[in-house]
């Protein structure tokens, strides 16, 4: 009798709740959208910090047998709005101390540095560019000059304020 009763019962239909699962999926998707960060496009230009005046500890006694690295000094003047108004390049401790005028064109600056870099005879890696810049020159141009100097081949570029002449 009981066997017959069980046979008459309606079959149990499996009920899979799709809606909460869908909700969960959407939430996970939203979470990943919010936390997604594309690869950073920012990069770094490595540089040495300027040595402070009177910092005697950082000064080392020069070895007379050491070959002096060639130093090029680029003087950058700025207009009132912080843009480049005039540039000139000279080689430190050279026989010819006349400065070559580069105008305000950064292409001329890059070309001048590239030419000098290619003409270097000694250890090219030791060659240095000293960028003497006006106080009000905008950082945009400072970074551009650093960047072009590195593209020209120089590894050691040091920005500095105008030296007193």
């Amino acid at each position: 009798m009981s066997k017959n009763k069980r046979k008459e019962e309606a079959p149990v239909e499996p009920d899979l709740p799709i809606t909460p699962m869908l909700d969960m999926s959407f939430q996970l998707m939203a979470f990943f959208i919010f936390t997604f960060r594309p690869a950073p496009t920012e990069g770094q230009i490595a540089m040495s910090l300027p040595t402070s005046e009177g910092d005697k500890n950082s000064q080392t006694i020069p070895d007379p047998t050491d070959e002096k690295p060639e130093v090029f000094v680029v003087r950058v003047e700025a207009a009132d709005n912080g843009t480049i108004s005039r540039m000139s390049i000279t080689q430190k401790d050279a026989v010819d101390t006349r400065a070559d005028d580069l105008g305000a064109d950064v292409r001329a600056y890059e070309k001048a540095l590239r030419t000098r870099y290619n003409e270097l005879k000694g250890d090219k890696a030791k060659a240095k560019v000293s960028l003497e810049m006006a106080d009000n020159l905008l950082n945009e141009y400072v970074v551009q000059l650093l960047d072009l100097g590195m593209q020209a081949g120089f590894k050691n570029i040091a920005p500095a304020p105008f030296s007193k002449r």
Partner: protein, 160 residues
């Protein structure tokens, strides 16, 4: 209006669960914003030769410099509520604290390389002197190297 007696009253827990998960999500997103140590208001200059950050760099000190020359520290880097360093003396004092911390972590050996990497994020409109004064302040605090941050540019930049 009649209710069938065989239908059981069952509370619907799904919307409540949704709500809880959404709250969890909100807090996770907020926590991520607090972790962010770069300042989005700083407009960086562009550079082709800017290299990507060294993946081994562990402790990075970000100095966000706005166009007024003030250093804006993130919530993680700030000491107390004061997150703006408005002059080079304040920058030097702050960096000196960080330098002493680094030396302490190196066991007091100043010859060992410091664990911190110093990154200066200066706005493209910041005058050179303001950035230079901050660099000098960092040098006076004891640091020797820094990295100037720029937007990495793939091709040749247009020269102005």
């Amino acid at each position: 209006m009649s209710h069938s007696p065989d239908k059981a009253c069952e509370p619907n827990l799904v919307p409540m669960l949704d709500m809880v998960l959404q709250l969890v999500m909100f807090f996770m997103v907020c926590a991520n914003f607090v972790m962010e140590r770069v300042n989005e208001t700083i407009k960086l200059p562009e550079a082709v030769s800017a290299a990507p950050l060294d993946p081994n760099a562990q402790n990075i000190i970000f100095l966000n410099v706005n166009d007024q020359g003030q250093v804006l520290l993130s919530a993680l880097d700030a000491v107390g509520k004061d997150n703006i360093l408005s002059n080079p003396i304040q920058v030097q004092n702050y960096m000196k604290r960080r330098y002493d911390e680094d030396v302490r972590m190196a066991g007091g050996d100043t010859t060992k390389p410091l664990r911190s990497t110093l990154i200066i994020r200066a706005d493209q409109r910041t005058p050179f002197k303001k950035v230079y004064d901050i660099e000098v302040a960092c040098q006076k605090a004891g640091y020797k190297n820094c990295q100037l941050r720029a937007i990495r540019h793939g091709g040749k930049l247009e020269t102005k």
